[in-house]
């Protein structure tokens, strides 16, 4: 099964989960997502997701000068972002439980 379709549905949650570990900037966020196994994630998708979540009021942003290049925009979770992440986790776990149950039933 093509995981990219699933990824599209859960990218918001994945981005929120990375930001829950600590504030970071776009490039590093993409790198962290890939390092945990989400190899298919598109850079543009991550930036689009960040923009949408920021526009919806779930994220903070801060420009931080960099010694190595242009200033980076660090994103972080605000209270609404933390709440959204909690709700997303709950939804994901319920969904994953249902799918596990369904797939285990098929295997029996």
């Amino acid at each position: 099964m093509d995981s990219t379709q699933i990824l599209k549905g859960v990218l918001d949650t994945a981005v929120l989960a990375v930001l829950d570990r600590g504030n970071t900037y776009g490039y590093d966020l993409v790198r962290q997502l890939r390092s945990v196994g989400l190899e298919e994630v598109g850079d543009a998708s991550v930036y689009g997701t960040l923009r949408r979540l920021f526009g919806a009021g779930y994220l903070t942003s801060e420009i931080v000068p960099s010694e190595e290049g242009p200033a980076r925009k660090y994103y972080g979770l605000n209270r609404a972002g933390v709440d959204l992440l909690e709700r997303s986790k709950k939804t994901w776990r319920e969904f994953a439980g249902v799918m596990d149950h369904l797939l285990e039933g098929e295997e029996e």
Binding site: K8, L11, Y25, G26, Y27, V30, G42, D43, A44, S45, V46, Y47, G48, T49, L50, R51, R52, G55, I63, P65, S66, E67, E68, G69, P70, A71, R72, K73
Partner: protein
């Protein structure tokens, strides 16, 4: 710290910016700011591989950001595609040279190139190389060069924006054109002077006997006649005819022959039709006894090569022995 993106990355950034033209300037700036930092992290050859084409990036960004496609197709779309192809070709060319080394040189010299091309097109060239002369003034040329250089450096170092991107591309296009002008140099040469440059301040040239000098003949070391452009110690063109002749020449630019005393002078012109005032020998004609206009022949001189070794003839003629210097 600000950095300079490579031409390929800067082009990528500009094309993404173009694809988000329907966003507000502030929103677009936010996206471009993120992407600029992202591009700075990527190796040159990794840009296309990881981000796809700028159009792919924009499409994917729009989908995930929940943005609608722009409601109207940008005008001049075909023109844009041509421009993109030109930029890609330029970037491929740029990839053949070591841009990080050459780019600062390009940025610091393109202002001079632009103003120099202007001076050449205007027929003025350089007052004292390398200072281009604008409006007959090297100082104006120098001031404009400084201004153009400042603009070039500012375009290179200031943060990207749509307005800057357009100005930068316009500047680069202009400089490319300037390079073309300088390489092909339509100006007949830095030594030629057109009639409006030096006609009002001259006194008429005279010989040692006080008689006016109407024409000047020059020969090379082999005794062959040559055409020369003559200047004084200050670079002013030497003019040998009365001022009214040059006045006529200026007022009647299409006229080939200008009446002069009991004859006429035919000025030679550059490819723009301008009289070259100090190109010698002048083509002078005189009316003969029958009222016919005939060209005044050059004086008969005693050059061995010119006269096949025959001795000089006629009174008052000059015999000159030329020896080559070691």
């Amino acid at each position: 710290m600000s950095i300079t993106l490579s031409p390929a990355k800067a082009t990528y950034l500009a094309r993404v910016s173009d694809g988000l033209v329907d966003l507000t300037a502030e929103d677009r700036h936010e996206v471009i700011q993120d992407l600029e930092a992202h591009l700075a992290e990527l190796a040159e050859d990794a840009v296309g591989r990881t981000l796809g084409t700028p159009e792919d990036f924009v499409a994917e960004f729009r989908r995930s950001a929940g943005l609608a496609e722009p409601s109207r197709v940008p005008r001049f779309d075909r023109l844009r595609r041509v421009r993109d192809r030109l930029e890609e070709s330029a970037n491929r060319l740029a990839g053949m040279v070591h841009w990080p080394t050459l780019r600062p040189i390009w940025v610091w010299t393109r202002g001079w190139l632009l103003i120099s091309a202007w001076a050449l097109l205007d027929g003025q060239g350089f007052g004292r190389f390398p200072i281009p002369s604008i409006g007959n003034s090297p100082m104006t040329g120098l001031a404009l060069t400084v201004l153009a250089t400042w603009l070039s450096v500012w375009l290179e170092t200031s943060p990207p924006s749509r307005a800057k991107g357009f100005t930068s591309r316009l500047y680069s296009f202009g400089t490319g054109f300037a390079l073309l002008v300088i390489i092909t140099n339509p100006y007949p040469g830095p030594t030629a002077a057109t009639i409006d440059e030096g006609m009002f301040y001259i006194d008429r040239l005279t010989g040692v006997d006080g008689q006016p000098i109407e024409n000047i003949y020059a020969y090379d070391l082999e005794g062959q006649p040559v055409d020369v452009l003559l200047f004084d110690q200050d670079g002013r063109p030497l003019l040998s005819l009365p001022t009214y002749v040059y006045d006529d020449a200026e007022l009647t630019p299409g006229l080939e022959e200008i009446a002069y005393d009991n004859g006429a002078v035919t000025f030679r012109r550059d490819q723009f039709g301008r009289v070259i005032s100090n190109l010698y020998p002048l083509q002078l004609s005189r009316y003969d006894d029958y009222g016919r206009l005939s060209q005044v022949p050059p004086p008969s001189l005693g050059f061995p090569a010119a006269n096949d070794g025959e001795p000089p003839s006629g009174p008052g003629e000059v015999t000159t022995t030329i020896t080559r210097g070691e």
